[in-house]
């Protein structure tokens, strides 16, 4: 929102004592964020009032005129392109050596004639956007006077961040800002001039059908408004604060909105019959002032007139009610609507206006009648002959009364660790318009209604008012005293980090972050239909993932464009059976020919996640977690019969999705289970004093025999001296498979004798041959 300091000065006593250029850092710290301060009028110099005394057409140009202009002392030849020039016209002249819009003006030849300066339009003067003609001043304006001394061209414009005013409906007008400036600088706020409206005429026909949505509606009829020209001072103000000046009747409503924050509307009185505030019918259409036809809903609050829609309440009027060039009588609306209803309608219609932005903040209904009296006052300044032809008709079903809040003194102390005197508290609160009664241990505070609609309702709110004026920067920091021990949840966070670090440092994997929903293209390309919780109002990428590994495939695919080999992981949320679950997913991808390598790598990662970090032994069980995984290579990871996750291989369709001739293996760990799985304590085992014997046997099997099958044969063989046996090598031949097994024999009690070793050898050979296998020597 843009604030004019010239305007603020009108509401503040001894305003000249205030440094309006440097006030705003303080304002940011005490009230709301100031985004910028701009000085106006300093790019204008040597600009004086002047009268055209001769006016001739340029002999060779249709558009140009040759003027003789006087500033009362000297005459100037001016070549001018404006269409509205005439003898007797009083306007603004920038003389040779002067400056407009920061550009120096010098005497020069224009279309063959010397021009000793320039007559200015409002856009050139920086006080308007119009360039239809040069600015005309009243004919009785004294000549040769500095334009800047006659009109408020020099100003300081302050931009305040709208977001920081969200909870301050009172600051959406200059008067509210002036109140804060007064509070910060210890000045008095002046009352504004209003017009008394006698209650001796007819009431207007106004009715509120939905009092829960329309808190108050004030109407006033004014006739004989013959002057519809906005005074230049107001035009400059409107321009500086971002509004377009149109005509007096429209401008004055905008002025009121900028002054008091109260949106107002002037309807052409000729068409007004009876005003109703009521909800629209679903799907009706209505054309707003901007000429756009809009579709209404049953929740849209409307102003109707004679059973026809007249305006969208609090947002925008209709095309039919517009002020026309010949309008001389108006119906003024000053109303207060429910914030939520206006906001929803504005969002639904995609139509946010200056008015709706203010209503959304919960305006004070007690401002409605004040604003209408102020508007009447301002109109009367320009139209002394105007007639008020109705009572100020006021429909106000439930008047809002000031609220009383009690603030305990010790609570103020508790929040701030500062001892405020009663005087300090009373002064700061009264400067903001609050009334304070000092009690023994508390303050009883009457909150003015302009602060009570939303912002202030309890003691903590009052504390904020006192402390912000005192200055947050004056609060000293104090270390926390309390000692608290960690809660058990802490460990979850630690474990998550430990696992990530383990995977990145030991297995050189890259951590990624992805989205909670499936990529629609992925599902489409892999011919998958996922049924899960979905995002409302979205058709793409709207299904929440129930499989972290699957959802990461697009990332694998994209990375394979840059790398031959990819290893990524993420610990993230999936949604399964309407519940949040944490999952760790690791994806390894490589060339198709390297499938065995990455599969074994994945298997090693799984084993080390459980064995290295948890000291837990896992078991594998062939299981397919979902239809799109391979039946032969997918395994469940079990600990004590409980599924902890899967080592899984995608089917051909999903694997092809990441690229041609690629291999892809996934690990998915139920991280909630993983975190709660304890790290097994291992006890010390004494190292045997006696030497061990190592025996390697290469066993020849048929090609289709897997290691798993060999183990089934080896497992039942028992010899009390076998401490350990393991696979140390495999060798694949055309038709046969060779497994080299290493047996380690030993005893805790003695050194083995050779006959004991020979006995083992004999029995082992016997066992192998009995099972139809052969040992190679």
């Amino acid at each position: 929102m843009l604030i004019s300091c010239n305007r603020l000065k009108k509401y503040i006593t001894d305003a000249e004592d205030i440094d309006f250029l440097h006030l705003w850092d303080d304002f940011t710290l005490r009230v709301a964020e100031v985004e910028g301060v701009t000085v106006k009028g300093d790019d204008l110099d040597g600009v004086v009032t002047a009268k055209i005394i001769e006016c001739e057409k340029h002999p060779e140009s249709d558009k140009l005129s040759l003027l003789k202009v006087t500033d009362g002392e000297k005459e100037y030849n001016i070549v001018c392109g404006a269409p509205n020039v005439r003898v007797g016209f009083v306007g603004v002249l920038v003389k040779d050596g002067g400056m407009v819009s920061g550009i120096k003006i010098k005497t020069r030849k224009l279309a063959g004639y010397p021009s000793e300066g320039m007559m200015c339009a409002v856009d050139e003067l920086g006080i308007g956007s119009d360039h239809d003609g040069i600015l005309e001043l009243p004919s009785d304006t004294p000549l040769g006077v500095d334009f800047k001394s006659l009109y408020p061209v020099e100003d300081i414009i302050v931009e305040i961040d709208n977001k920081s005013l969200t909870n301050r409906p009172d600051l959406w007008g200059h008067y509210g800002i002036a109140r804060e400036v007064c509070a910060i600088t210890n000045h008095e706020l002046l009352p504004i001039s209003l017009l008394d409206i006698p209650d001796d005429k007819k009431d207007l026909d106004i009715e509120i059908a939905n009092p829960e949505l329309c808190k108050r509606y004030c109407g006033l009829e004014i006739k004989n408004l013959v002057n519809n020209k906005t005074p230049l001072e107001m035009q400059i103000f409107l321009h500086y604060t971002g509004m377009r000046s149109l005509n007096l009747l429209v401008d004055v409503t905008n002025f009121l909105m900028l002054e008091l924050g109260q949106p107002m509307h002037a309807f052409d009185e000729r068409v007004v019959k009876n005003i109703r505030v009521q909800l629209a019918n679903d799907k009706d259409t209505f054309t707003t002032l901007d000429g756009v036809e809009r579709t209404l809903s049953k929740d849209t609050l409307m102003i109707t007139n004679g059973d026809k829609y007249f305006g969208i309440a609090g947002i925008m009027g209709g095309l039919d009610s517009e002020i026309l060039p010949d309008t001389t009588s108006v119906f003024i609306e000053s109303a207060c609507f429910d914030a939520g209803s206006i906001r929803k309608s504005a969002v639904r219609l995609g139509l946010r206006t200056e008015a709706s932005a203010r209503y959304e903040k919960s305006l004070d209904p007690n401002m409605c009648d004040v604003a209408i009296k102020r508007l009447a006052y301002l109109l009367k300044q320009e139209n002394p002959e105007m007639e008020i032809t109705s009572n100020l008709t006021d429909i106000y079903p439930e008047p809002l009364l000031p609220k009383t809040v009690v603030l305990k003194k010790n609570k103020l102390k508790k929040y701030t660790m500062i001892h405020f005197t009663d005087e300090e508290v009373v002064n700061s609160l009264t400067s903001l318009g609050f009334k304070v009664e000092v009690l023994d241990d508390a303050y009883s505070v009457i909150v003015p209604t302009y602060r009570a609609t939303k912002d202030i309702s309890m003691d903590a709110d009052i504390i904020e008012e006192i402390v912000r004026l005192y200055g947050y920067e004056n609060i000293k920091e104090v270390p926390l005293k309390l000692e608290l021990t960690g809660k058990e949840e802490d460990t979850v966070w630690n474990k998550e980090y430990d696992v990530k670090k383990f995977l990145a440092s030991r297995y050189s994997l890259n951590e990624v972050h992805s989205y909670l929903w499936f990529d629609s293209d992925l599902l489409k390309e892999c011919h998958l239909e996922k049924q899960n919780v979905s995002l409302l109002g979205k058709n793409e990428n709207n299904i929440l993932r129930d499989d972290l590994s699957l959802s990461l495939l697009p990332m694998v695919k994209n990375n394979l464009k840059n790398f031959d080999k990819v290893g990524i992981f993420e610990i993230a949320t999936v949604i399964i059976n309407n519940e949040n679950k944490r999952r760790l997913s690791i994806l390894l991808a490589d060339e198709e020919k390297n499938m065995k390598d990455i599969y074994m790598n994945a298997k090693e990662i799984v084993v080390s996640l459980f064995q290295t970090l948890k000291h837990q032994k896992i078991e594998w069980q062939k299981e397919v977690p979902d239809g799109y995984y391979d039946e032969n290579l997918s395994y469940a990871i079990l600990i004590k019969k409980k599924t902890m996750g899967y080592l899984k291989v995608f089917n051909g369709v999903c694997t092809r999705y990441i690229g041609k001739k690629k291999a892809l293996v996934a690990i998915e760990i139920d991280f909630d289970e993983y975190v709660s799985l304890p790290v097994l304590e291992t006890l010390y085992q004494e190292v045997s004093k006696y030497p061990t014997v190592t025996l390697d046997y290469t066993i020849l099997t048929s090609k289709n025999m897997k290691y798993e099958d060999l183990l089934k044969i080896l497992k039942p063989f028992y010899n009390k001296f076998v401490k350990e046996y393991k696979l140390v090598g495999t060798y694949e031949e055309e038709k046969k498979m060779k497994y080299t097994m290493r047996y380690i024999l030993g005893s805790e009690e003695k050194t083995l004798e050779s006959k004991e070793i020979d006995k083992f050898k004999e029995k082992f050979m016997e066992h192998i041959t009995k099972n139809g296998l052969e040992i190679l020597f």
Binding site: M458, V478, L536
Partner: protein, 335 residues
């Protein structure tokens, strides 16, 4: 005979001199000093000599043997101490490492600092109930944040949490007061994406509740946290702000990290950078979670870890973070 011995010695020493491998020296030693060596032959033939000759040749042979033995030992020692390897030690090495996500690194750093101050790290669900995300945080039904335009509502009546603040409510309801927790986590906003906007990003929430917690404590914690995070003395200041779940609410600025507060283009010459929102926990929020606001007060703060990570690592485009592009993410070493 004497000359023979001297010649032999000379021969042995000359041969030895040319050698520089351990095995060759040992062979050479065997040749001249071994059982079948000439010297040994001469020694064993001593007994056949006359007494006089024995007197002359005995010491000479022994002396020669000793000298040669010493020469061989010396040579062997020389070779052993001189062992050299033949390879190019200037070749480079490549360390294969993975990477942690920048958010993980920043979150870890921040939570470590908070843990040292006694905060417990808690977490909560990403798919959240409206109650925890809005109602319990004093966010009224008609608040703009509750619009579809901002919030991802779900087909099961829940939503994706729009901030980490529901963790406040969950922690209060689980543990009661006093309490000192922080909660890093992923949050979601229904936004169109560009270089500065993401629909999925990370926040860090912090909350302290006890008897007599004041704004002074809040300032202390925030200044300490920021000073430790940025590893320099950072000043903080509070400005009025507005959040439904705190009262008073503040916007917290920290002194500009680039210019230190003097004013520069980064801080738009103000000397301050907007850092986060914070405030004293709203009495309604305490009440809703069963904590008596007359007995307890508290403060809470919340900021974007994503933005912090972007500041710290100078990441210009927020979309990099959720791209999964290893070319970009691999830069982040494990700490």
């Amino acid at each position: 005979m004497k000359e023979k011995v001297l010649k032999l010695k000379e021969e042995a020493l000359q041969e030895l001199q040319k050698l520089n491998k351990e095995a060759d020296v040992l062979n050479c030693k065997a040749k001249y000093l071994g059982k079948k060596s000439k010297l040994n032959e001469l020694l064993s033939s001593l007994k056949n000599l006359s007494v006089e000759e024995k007197k002359e040749m005995g010491p000479l042979l022994n002396q020669t043997k000793k000298e040669l033995e010493e020469a061989f030992s010396k040579k062997l020692e020389e070779i052993n101490s001189q062992i050299s390897y033949d390879f190019d030690e200037t070749l480079p090495v490549y360390v294969q490492t993975g990477s942690l996500h920048p958010i993980t690194l920043v979150a870890k750093e921040m939570t470590d600092i908070l843990k040292r101050m006694g905060f417990t790290v808690v977490s909560g669900p990403e798919m959240e109930e409206e109650y925890y995300n809005f109602e319990a945080l004093n966010i009224p039904k008609d608040h703009p944040a509750r619009d579809m335009q901002d919030t991802y509502y779900l087909s099961n009546g829940k939503l994706l949490r729009t901030h980490t603040s529901p963790n406040q409510v969950r922690a209060m309801q689980k543990y009661g007061a006093p309490l000192k927790v922080c909660a890093p986590g992923r949050v979601f906003r229904n936004e169109d994406m560009d270089a500065n906007h993401e629909n999925t990003f990370f926040q860090l929430e912090g909350m302290v509740i006890d008897k007599d917690i004041s704004i002074s404590n809040l300032i202390y914690v925030m200044r300490s946290l920021l000073s430790e995070t940025f590893k320099k003395d950072v000043k903080v200041r509070l400005r009025p702000g507005f959040f439904p779940f705190t009262e008073p609410s503040f916007e917290l600025d920290c002194s500009c990290l680039i210019c230190g507060g003097k004013g520069c283009p980064t801080c738009k010459n103000s000397g301050w950078l907007e850092f986060c929102g914070c405030g004293m926990i709203h009495p309604n929020v305490l009440k809703e979670s069963g904590i008596d606001p007359e007995e307890y007060t508290g403060f809470a703060f919340g900021f974007g870890i994503t933005r912090l990570a972007m500041m710290k690592y100078k990441i210009g485009d927020i979309r990099v973070l959720n791209s999964g592009d290893i070319r970009a993410l691999d830069e982040f070493e494990i700490e």
